[in-house]
Amino acid sequence: MTTKFTSDHEYIRVEGAVGTVGITAHAQEQLGDIVFVELPAVGKKVKKGDEVAVVESVKAASEIYAPVSGTVLSVNEALTDDPGLINQDPAGTGWMFTIAIDTPAELEALMDETAYAKLTA
């Protein structure tokens, strides 16, 4: 299991051919209190970089982009009633969706934890 990061502050935790996507602790801190999450439809096919979800804080709406191409397998329904989970536990219960990864090679272009830590330092 490895976790990769985008420069837009999404993470993808990869187990085999499936990735779990959310936003990083740094991102949720920058956004502040999250009050609404718009999740993709299960089964939706997305390309790397497509706008796939929206996170709204008290102040503003932020688009979430697909870190890799693939098909949405499941979404975190708990966020609909409790979007604050993203603030409380972004890497755990605040996950947003899972994706069946089309092209594992796309993961190579993403940052590892060390590189991401450097970006947000």
Binding site: G32, D33, F36, E38, V54, V58, K59, A61
Partner: protein
Amino acid sequence: MADVPADDLKTTPLTGRHTALGGRMVPFGGYSMPVQYPSGIIAEHKWTREHAGLFDVSHMGPSFLRLNRTSGDVDADHQAVAAVVEPLVCGDIKGLKPGQIRYTLLLNDAGGVLDDLMIARPADPAAAGSLYIVVNAGTKEADFARIAAAAGEKATLERADDHGLLALQGPEAAAVIAAIVPEAAALGFMTYGAFKSAFGTLVVARSGYTGEDGFEILVEPGRAVALWDRLLADERVRPVGLGARDSLRLEAGLPLYGHDLDETVSPTEAGLGFAVSKRRREAADFPGAARIVREYAGELQRVRVGIQFEGRLPVREGAPLVDGAGSEIGRVTSGGFSPSLAAPIALGFVRPEHAQEGARVTAIVRDKPTQGTVVKLPFVPHRYFRKPEARP
């Protein structure tokens, strides 16, 4: 990164305090200001509704307009200084009682709002012939130039926007200030006074923009940090940033200049008819009076309303409002998520036939409809301090 003010942004006497408290600094009205502290907007919002929130509003434009020559007759001097600003605004400034503050509007010749502001008459007879005027940050250069031009040789506008301006808002604000400036706790809503204190002379107004009881305190630049620290030393007080200031004023149904008010919007359209005094309306002696008198008689194209939406999706500034058939009937001018109601709320303008309480409206957000209902403003009841008896 974001907590270092950019070179072209102005700072307030309290900027160092904000960064030390972990405030997230953003550009606002030409200043670097804290949008929130680490506790977050929702916690800051709720704290203000339940206890007392402390806001740095030093970016705004406090000022004093003073007659160059006073006669010594207190009332005549007030009439004279009021006559300097009345041609610019729609409010009854001459009719202000000593110590009274009035919310009014600077208008252009088309009756559009150039700014909303507070004008107050000093309670102290020794200060007769002056006015305390507080304008918005983003418009203050133009406002001050306009007022100074109107003053000509008769009066002088003295800016105080290098000072600290602190807002202390919430149900525990009065108990907090009583320990520092006892006289301030005795002020009625929308009155003010200048009081000596351990922090120099403070100009304290019982006013604010959150819908709560509270105070706005002008303090000389060198004393602002000490006063800020003293207020925060009280456990009932926590610092609150611009994010919660915006959600609080939205819940209170109060318009924000540059969003709900601009140069095209008239006071009548904005539901601020109360700010057009009867005497001024009857005399039609203010900029844009012809339009406003016509609108007052019923010729309105749009009016400001409050809308509460279903679900949780925030409906923000710019979202189109449509009727059941999908035709545009207006637009949202400010909106967001109400922490008190845990629901999306918005202010917007609609055609008058869609403005009645209970009317159903649809907003379009990211090409999808979301349903709302026109509700009575404010969204959250005001809790201003009302004295049992009106003062003379």
